[in-house]
């Protein structure tokens, strides 16, 4: 099998895995929406029919996703260091796009998280939607932070995505996040002296900046390091 053919097979395998992962995550989101229904407080609940239908949908999504992820195998030829490097470099390109999308997705979720925080600060009833929004925002922020920190990388991709240079760039990017969160928390203390409600509402903003800052910094650092050179 030629290098191009191997890469085409690998691309198909990776596409299937990606669709499977997407379906599984969708299932987890639906399951999460159902799980928050068990938290007492909000009198509004899904009906029994809605609950069963969504539960079945979540289970189906997770099962189909896991099956898709398990289907097929990467050819043995694709495990050579050269092919692994080509795959990892392609993956790096996709990770750059992901780094750019992280601030955008957090920005989209921020209004909901701020609204939920506002309900807590005002002592109003925390709805199931508020709980779901906060849980999703927290989970996604943590997931992004782990991705920026380079956790969960496949072993074949490590020579490219977790080598000395990558670790140094990640360290510099995460230092930005640390500085942002530190400054943000200090600012929250000051804001809390004036308005407790505003301080609580701003917590998600500080958290989002603590993730979005390192994502953008890492993107810029990796792009600067990647310029020039020869194949």
């Amino acid at each position: 099998m030629s290098e191009t053919e191997i890469l085409a097979v690998v691309r198909r395998f990776e596409w299937r895995r990606k669709v499977g992962l997407g379906m599984s995550l969708l299932g987890v989101v639906v399951a999460g929406a159902l799980a928050v229904q068990f938290v007492p407080g909000d009198p509004d609940h899904f009906s029994r029919t809605e609950f069963l239908a969504l539960g079945a949908a979540a289970a189906a999504f997770i099962a189909c996703g896991l099956i898709l992820m398990r289907l097929g195998r990467i050819p043995a030829d694709a495990r050579t260091p050269r092919i692994a490097m080509l795959r990892a470099e392609r993956l790096q390109g996709r990770r750059h796009i992901a780094l750019l999308l992280m601030p955008a997705s957090l920005g989209c979720m921020l209004p909901g998280a701020i609204r939920a925080a506002g309900h807590v600060a005002d002592g109003r009833l925390v709805t199931h939607i508020d709980l779901f929004t906060v849980a999703a925002f927290t989970a996604i922020s943590l997931l992004f932070a782990l991705m920026i920190a380079g956790r969960g990388l496949d072993s074949w991709a490590k020579p490219v995505l977790d080598d000395e240079l990558s670790r140094e760039l990640r360290g510099r990017a995460l230092a930005v996040g640390y500085a942002v969160v530190l400054a943000g928390v200090a600012a929250l203390f000051v804001v809390a002296l004036v308005s407790r409600t505003l301080a609580v509402e701003l917590i998600p903003v500080v958290a989002a900046l603590g993730v979005a800052g390192p994502a953008l910094r890492l993107f810029l650092l990796e792009r600067a390091a990647g310029g020039g050179g020869e194949a």
């Binding site: 050269r82 490219v160 995505l161 000395e164 240079l165 990796e222 390091a225 020039g228 020869e230």
Partner: protein, 72 residues
């Protein structure tokens, strides 16, 4: 160290052996980007990486890396 800058002869050594950056990266087990940034002096490698690079060329590390007076 103040006043010193780490220079290297990686590009020349690679050219002598007819190696591409990718081939050298595969030998050492790092990314092509790392080789590129070390060659251009953008990234200062660790002792481990410098020794691994020297081993890949079968040369002493001093033959590849040296200090020069500059804004180190």
């Amino acid at each position: 160290m103040i006043g010193y800058r780490l220079e290297n002869r990686l590009k020349q050594a690679r050219a002598e052996l007819g190696l591409t950056q990718t081939e050298l990266a595969l030998r050492v087990g790092v990314s092509r980007k790392t080789i590129n940034t070390v060659e251009n002096g953008v990234f200062t490698p660790s002792t481990t990486l410098a020794l691994a690079l020297a081993a890949a060329f079968e040369r002493p590390v001093e033959a590849l890396f040296y200090l020069s007076r500059g804004e180190g």
